[in-house]
């Protein structure tokens, strides 16, 4: 079996919802049935066949070639051990709610990448937008609750919003309010943007530098925490490119005191 490849013929004329193009969505469909799937979001309702050249036959190994920031919901809700590769950019909600498997985007992703995911591995070669690893929608009670997200570039605002569990690595940096309202899990980055950890209850932000913390984070000492060593090892095996981001010695900021105040920001300390 060869990887199932969807090659974009031209820039899509509208936003597309590609959530059906997962092993679960494609099970039992032959080439013609796949081509007939509607992926458009307007009344024009373009199909897979209208927009993509399809080749290959292995739904466990899906490739999108020719990216676009209009390719929404790629691999949303992915389960099992399937692999999806996007050669180029992805749109909204890539890997949102994924429970397992692996998604790799070679370019950048729009907002809510990996939002609400509970398992699996999401890798983005470029940047990712707001709410990466955060909440998927208004009213959602949990952001990322498991699995690993690795963004080589920067992520936007409110990365890890309401995060509960799991690991979010934004190698280059984050926008404002990283880890907002988080209640667990770990965010690792070189640089936190403004007001990180807004209303965080629990959870850990690890960074080399950070933007303005405001009055509701309280310095709580410098430590060589065994936990950081543990984390460094875990990252060295799972996200080798980010291994250097974990300091041996860190200043611990405790907060957000405006909320429960049991979260922490661990910043490299000399």
């Amino acid at each position: 079996m060869a990887a199932l490849v969807f090659r974009l013929r031209a820039a899509p004329p509208e936003r597309l919802d590609l959530s059906a193009l997962t092993p679960a969505g494609l099970v039992g469909l032959d080439r013609a049935a796949i081509a007939a799937l509607v992926v458009g979001t307007t009344k024009h309702a373009p199909t897979v066949g209208d927009l993509f050249e399809v080749s290959g036959d292995d739904p466990g190994e899906i490739v999108f070639e020719g990216g676009s920031d209009r390719l929404d919901r790629i691999g949303a809700g992915l389960t099992g051990s399937a692999r999806i590769t996007v050669v180029g950019d992805a749109g909204l909600d890539v890997g949102a709610g994924m429970k397992g498997g692996a998604i790799r985007v070679t370019g950048s992703a729009l907002h809510r990448a990996g939002a609400g995911m509970t398992g699996g591995l999401l890798t983005i070669g470029g940047d990712a937008g707001d709410f990466t690893g955060g909440t998927a929608a208004s009213g959602a009670m949990a952001g990322q609750a498991g699995g690993i997200i690795v963004v080589s570039g920067r992520v936007g605002d409110r990365a890890g919003d309401r995060m509960r569990r799991g690991l979010l690595v934004a190698i280059a940096g984050t926008g404002a309010h990283a880890g907002a309202r988080m209640s667990g899990g770990t965010i690792v980055t070189a640089e936190l943007g403004a007001e990180p950890g807004t209303l965080m209850k629990r959870g850990t932000l690890v960074a080399g530098r950070h933007g303005d913390l405001g009055p509701t984070f309280v310095p709580a000492g410098r430590y060589e925490l065994p936990f950081l060593r543990l984390l460094a090892r875990h990252i060295a095996t799972t996200v080798p490119v980010a291994a250097g981001l974990i300091p041996e010695r860190a200043l611990r900021w405790r907060g957000d005191m405006a909320a429960l105040g049991k979260g922490e920001i661990l910043v490299a300390a000399g």
Binding site: A137, S138, G139, A140, M141
Partner: protein, 545 residues
């Protein structure tokens, strides 16, 4: 146009009718059998089917500010997935007014009453009701916690003044009846009381809940409100609330009174301070007070949301919110509270609530006085009515559910021993004839000639849930609204309202009060016909005298 529903088993307890025969409809009304030879324009084959009047729900939160706040609070519980059919926009927009009308109609319901019409938000409530397709609507005007009324009572103004103030509120808000919610509880909570019973005093007012309720009973009688005063008692959900209910029943002193969602009060306290079923106590009290009617407020399992103007209760319930978010409005008079809840089959507490509701139905001395509700959505959605009917009509089905009950719940109630099964006739009373009679809507709930042609036809299935979930045919005002369990298109019913008179002096007093309170006058709270464009929304119902 003459329509014949041919050969169905027609059940109409009002006429004592349970027989196979034809039913005729002309111009939106039920008519007597035509002369031989008269042409029938349309015939619906009802052979082997059950023909009843359209069902009526006296207590379902389907419109108004708090219903819409619940929509805002819980987007994750009503994610839209299906497109709506052509010609029926928003029919599948979940939790929308449009979907509510469709779903009610598809179960054979043709009249539904919103039980919490806050006078300050009457226009919004009526605008929402007007967007509920197919069914007829009505709403109960909430009084009893508003400062104007409390002040009149406190200052021992004449019964006439109290009556006029209530009549004004009813007329201005275009309600079909009167409702009081934890009388005095809202101002008490605003003064930071966290518990409030029938004989407790509202701080600063020197008034008890009993005074407010009895004052409203007097006013309702004098205005001639056909529907008995609809009372949401104090102490909802509190173990020992059976005593509150008994006190309230006795306090009515023989005057007609309706106690809402009684299941939530049928809780007795055991020596450990935990609750156990008080259904027998409630049933006995109901038997002893023929002036009292109730609706059950059955709990069914699954995630839902509690919506109530009882802000004291809603605040105290917020730690149980699931998911963990909630809203509370310290509004004018009551306001409202929205607390999501997940009734879990694994929880003995929730199982006991479920069992107590069924006990109340099965111990009820009189189907004319014990109505089916879930207090939608508080005990569960109205779409669970078919399951409830199945549980009431089929002991075997009940036993299958009881087998899954935790022992802790089983030994705190007597459900397992109850053998009663509701008959179709009793169902027709409980869901048609009785609510119509209690609402004072004489033209419905039965199939006598002259009645509105709101008719539901069901397949006679052993699976009563399947039977009542999807009516084979529903006529609304003589027009086909549902066929084979599916709504056929948008038609619109009316909103029924009273139009009581009152002394002109009250108009001035209210105007002064509103201007003092809000800085705007009564017009800002009015529900004028013009607000509905060219839609003809309201139908005025007469007061009793």
């Amino acid at each position: 146009m003459l329509i014949r529903l041919a050969g169905g088993r027609v059940i109409d307890p009002v006429q004592g009718l349970d027989a196979v025969g034809d039913l005729y409809v002309r111009d939106g009304r039920i008519v007597a059998a035509p002369e031989p030879g008269e042409a029938v324009d349309e015939t619906h084959d009802c052979r082997g089917r059950i023909v009843m009047a359209g069902a009526i729900d006296v207590h379902s939160h389907i419109a108004g500010g708090n219903v819409t706040l619940a929509r805002l609070l819980l987007p994750e519980l009503h994610v839209n997935e299906a497109p709506s059919p052509d010609g029926m926009p928003f029919a599948h927009a979940r939790w929308s007014s449009w979907e509510i009308g469709r779903l009610y109609a598809e179960m054979g319901f043709t009249t539904v009453i919103e039980p919490a019409l806050a006078p300050t938000h009457a226009l919004q409530t009526h605008l929402e009701l007007a967007d509920l397709p197919v069914i007829d609507k009505g709403a109960l005007t909430v009084v009893g916690n508003d400062d104007l009324l409390l002040k009149l009572l406190r200052e021992r103004e004449s019964r006439d003044a109290v009556r006029d103030a209530v009549a004004h509120a009813l007329a201005a808000s275009r309600g079909l009846g009167l409702k009081v919610i934890n009388a005095g509880g809202a101002p008490a909570f605003k003064s930071n009381l966290r518990a409030f019973s029938f004989d407790d005093e509202v701080p600063h007012y020197g008034l008890t809940s009993r005074r407010i309720v009895t004052g409203l009973l007097d006013a309702a009688a004098e205005i001639g409100v056909p529907h008995p005063l609809h009372v949401h008692c104090n102490n909802l959900g509190v173990p020992g609330a059976t005593e509150t209910v008994r006190a309230t029943m006795a306090g009515a002193e023989g005057r007609p009174i309706h106690l809402a969602h009684i299941q939530f009060y049928a809780y007795e306290e055991d020596p450990a301070g935990l609750f156990r079923s008080g259904a027998e106590t409630i049933a006995a009290a109901l038997a002893a007070h023929p002036n009292v009617s109730v609706d059950v407020g059955q709990v069914m399992f699954g995630p839902t949301v509690t919506i109530s103007l009882d802000i004291m209760k809603q605040y105290s319930g917020h730690p149980h919110a699931s998911p963990k978010k909630w809203a509370l409005v310290d509004g004018d008079a009551e306001g409202g509270g929205i607390v999501p809840i997940d009734y879990r089959a694994k929880s003995w507490v929730n199982q006991l609530q479920w069992a107590i509701g069924l006990e109340l139905f099965l111990l009820s001395p009189d189907p004319w006085r014990c109505l089916m509700t879930t207090d939608h959505p508080n005990g569960g959605p109205f779409t669970s009515y078919p399951e409830i009917l199945h549980l009431l009509m089929d002991r075997g089905e009940r036993e299958r559910w009881i087998a899954r009950m935790p022992e802790e719940a089983k030994r705190r109630c007597g459900l397992a021993a109850l053998e009663r099964e509701y008959t179709l006739d009793e169902v027709a009373i409980m869901t048609r004839a009785a609510p119509a009679r209690l609402l004072g809507l004489a033209d419905r709930g039965h199939l006598k000639p002259g009645a509105v042609a709101d008719i539901a036809v069901y397949d006679d299935l052993a699976d009563r849930a399947a039977m009542f979930r999807a009516a084979r045919l529903v006529l609304k005002d003589g027009r086909v609204a549902v066929r084979d369990g599916r709504c056929t298109g948008w038609i619109f019913g009316r909103t029924h309202a009273l139009k009581p008179g009152y002394d002109a002096a009250m108009t001035r007093e209210v105007e002064t009060y509103l201007t003092d309170r809000y800085g705007v006058g009564a017009k800002a709270f009015a529900v004028p016909d013009e607000a509905f464009g060219e839609r003809h929304v309201f139908k005025v119902e007469p007061c009793s005298h």
